[in-house]
Symmetry: C2
Subunit: 494 residues, 2 copies
């Protein structure tokens, strides 16, 4: 069948879609989400056929993605024929039915996702399969390899390469920005890619961006890491593990975080940078992504998948029941990091302690410190100023101001401090409420927005003493946040 | 935020969607599939925000569905604000996690589906939940009620009302067109709504349409049923259980048929017509929808859900391992039905026997025949010509030609007969291959397309004797089917 191109002038938003008249759809015996092959001048493309009464019977409506690929023009005639579903659809069904997938089947699913050959509904069924069915260690390994190999690899050509990861969920937990310069200051290579926050007040990439640009290309990253052993960049700006983004997009509507995909996604990124020694931080407890049971399960799986990928993985379960550090939100967290690096008296001790512990673990893992001696080495590197020096090298290499002082970091100028209504002791701080309030304040998009916590769990408070301060970049956002915080105070005082 | 309307001039295909510039999406803190509320002059609507670089920063792109609802015009300014996800999304996640849903939660999901408040991805997660998690009898009952009440009900105001249903999967199995007139000929009310085929060569609605129009409205159906006790119409043309169509659309890409939704969907339709006594045919075996184990599970569930809905349900497990009747495809099946009704020597005996058995069961269930005497009554009604008379009343009432003869039914004129390559006995006929070949021939869209089976399992065949004949309405379709059948002969002869 030959049809006349009608350019729709709009993107379908990823999946390859064309629009056809209902009669044409029927005459081709197509059902919802069935596919057609469209023959261009030099190449063909397979797209999903959507039904539209706005397209006449001699036309085919092209969304931008298909138009660009074919280079088709308005009014041009193209031949179309029905096309079978890709095999990956059957593999997804197989997994949803609880069966094991082979390496080839998993690779095919990932390739089809990256090449936009699957619809969002089909990817949703894959996510649902991962959420409801167990992925074996081998399946997780293959999925991680497939996700990594669907994009570019860093290929530094050196060993060992250290890396760390935190599965997230705890506000203010910016250990990466301390662990990376500590470890690198001992001469160990640690090329760190991080994400931006989706539901949290800040991701490491958001916070690092306060100090230096984080959207660097692979060539620049290789150059920096070869020279100074470390970087802290935004992974999402790279063509690294691109399948991941397509999957996350579909996970978001239900805020799903299926174990199989979580593991594969994290390990794919470690594999992409060529990591040989990896420390994984698994915070657990109320308001985090897992309870102790899931944390233990994740630990076992991370180590096993890592082994299959040729990495030595060590996991730590940490207390995630309250925020780490004082600042929440990019600018306020960046200040905390600088205070720790400068050994300033304003440095939050919980953040410093956790960073030293983690850096110590990683130094031991990579063989830079003997067993039990890692933390001491990390502490020495931090307090001697060598870590600050390394951090300044990183900031400079990435294009930031290496001499920046904490006070120079701009925070929101619409400010409100919440004080205690009675004397007492802080017995709990609710992570979820901290995240919600910070979101209302504008974090992470407004870099200066966020919260400063004057108190932590166990601290004594007196009547009218400040508990937390809100920072926003607009009065409206501040008042929205105050309104929410009024009836959702994250601090429990007894 | 106020944005200028840009009409996109195309349907989104169901879900309510608007397109926004990436910067606007970011400034509103929206993630993929997040929603916005758009304030029109007199009413507002909640739609999912898609990202499009083709929309400028002061614009909002409206797909047809949103435009029509708001009555918005090109260039008009509309206020938009971010909107929370509907609660039904959280219920879907809850079910996917394996928890029970309440009546309210299930009703909310169905209402949101019908009102286009859920995206296809979100509905896909609901389908995946039904596929991977068990629905209790109560959950199935509530889902059935919600689906039924989402549309119009027949409300005949009479009792008893008989109904029958076959879960499908067996080609040629057109018992409905015999059971309905047999039962109605005894004075029992049986208003039958049927579906068109999606993957099969014909649905009852497709085959009945060969004899009479099947797209009738509720008013006409009520009028007919009050007068002659029966009808055989297309359910899909009515606003009956509309949620069903939206769900089926999402099931199709993976050809999923989750038990919870299957049960709720069938029972919703019975509930919509006010059925009090229902016979459910569950064919099982190779090439059908279930094996014996699933058939037994379905039986128990159908009876229990029916009881909760105030219906008396009887199930029968039947042999679905080979086609029923000789004709496959709308016209050829309609011929078979007429031959049986006319007690012609060409009548396929397997179809006749199954119809008598089923009608007998239903007559006993509804109290028209004593236990063990139903089949005899059904046989009498059929062979006495009373059933043919009732069928002619139905055909006439629906607007068809009541005097039509089997030979007057047009079948495809592109014909090819496949003969035996050796002497032997038919030991199996593959339903799946029969369906595929019939699809190639053009069934069910081409009414005259299909197959005629000269032999059934157990029949002796001689070298060069006809086994099956292919009918198509175009030479190309015939040759495509022959090509497929050449290497996929559905007949196994030994």
């Amino acid at each position: 069948m030959r049809l006349k191109v009608k350019l729709l002038g709009i993107e379908a938003g990823g999946p390859l879609i064309v629009a056809l008249n209902p009669k044409i759809v029927k005459s081709l015996d197509l059902e919802p989400a069935d596919r057609v092959r469209i023959m261009g001048d030099k190449k063909y493309i397979v797209a999903v056929a959507d039904v539209s009464a706005k397209i006449s019977e001699d036309e085919i409506g092209l969304f931008d993605e298909v138009q660009k690929f074919l280079g088709a023009e308005d009014g041009q005639y193209l031949a179309i024929i029905p096309e079978e579903k890709p095999m990956s659809v059957f593999s997804i069904k197989k997994k949803l039915a609880g069966q094991r997938l082979s390496k080839d089947e998993l690779y095919e699913i990932v390739t089809d996702i990256v090449d936009n050959r699957l619809t969002q509904v089909e990817i949703a069924f894959f996510v649902a399969a991962a959420y409801t069915r167990d992925f074996s260690i081998e399946e997780t390994e293959y999925l991680a390899r497939a996700i990594a190999e669907s994009g570019e690899m860093l290929n530094l050509g050196t060993k060992p390469i250290a890396d760390k990861h935190c599965i997230g969920g705890v506000p203010g937990n910016r250990t990466t920005m301390l662990v990376v310069p500590i470890v690198a200051s001992t001469g160990v290579t640690i090329p760190k890619t991080s994400s931006r926050a989706i539901t949290d007040p800040a991701g490491t990439a958001d916070t690092m961006e306060v100090l230096a640009p984080v959207s660097l290309d692979f060539e620049k990253i290789r150059e920096i890491v070869k020279k100074i052993k470390a970087c802290m960049v935004w992974g999402g700006g790279l063509d690294m593990a691109p399948a991941d983004d397509d999957i996350i997009k579909v996970e978001h509507p239900l805020s799903l975080d299926p174990t199989g995909i979580l593991l594969a996604s994290v390990m794919a990124k470690k594999y992409s940078v060529g990591a040989t020694h990896v420390l994984i931080d698994i915070p657990y407890g109320p308001g985090t992504k897992c309870d102790l049971k899931r944390a233990k399960d994740l630990e076992k799986r991370f180590v096993a998948v890592g082994k299959n990928l040729g990495m030595i993985v060590k996991t730590i379960k940490t207390d995630g029941s309250q925020p780490i550090g004082n600042g929440i939100g990019p600018a306020l967290e960046a200040r905390d990091v600088l205070y720790v690096l400068m050994d300033d008296k304003k440095a939050p001790q919980d953040l410093k302690k956790k960073a030293i512990f983690m850096a110590g673990q990683l130094l031991e893992l990579v063989g830079k410190a003997k067993r039990g001696k890692g933390a001491a080495l990390a502490k020495k590197q931090l307090e001697s100023g060598k870590t600050l020096e390394k951090m300044r090298e990183i900031i400079k290499a990435q294009g930031g101001n290496p001499q920046i002082k904490p006070e120079q970091i701009k925070v929101g100028t619409d400010i409100e401090t919440i004080t205690a209504e009675k004397d007492g002791i802080v017995i709990a701080i609710d992570n979820e409420k901290i995240k919600r309030i910070s979101k209302f304040l504008g974090a992470p998009n407004d870099k200066g927005a966020g919260m400063f916590l004057h108190k932590h769990v166990g601290d004594k408070v007196k009547f009218k003493e400040p508990i937390f301060t809100l920072y926003a970049e607009s009065g409206r956002k501040l008042s929205d946040a105050i309104g929410f915080a009024d009836s959702n105070n994250p601090f429990k005082i007894k």
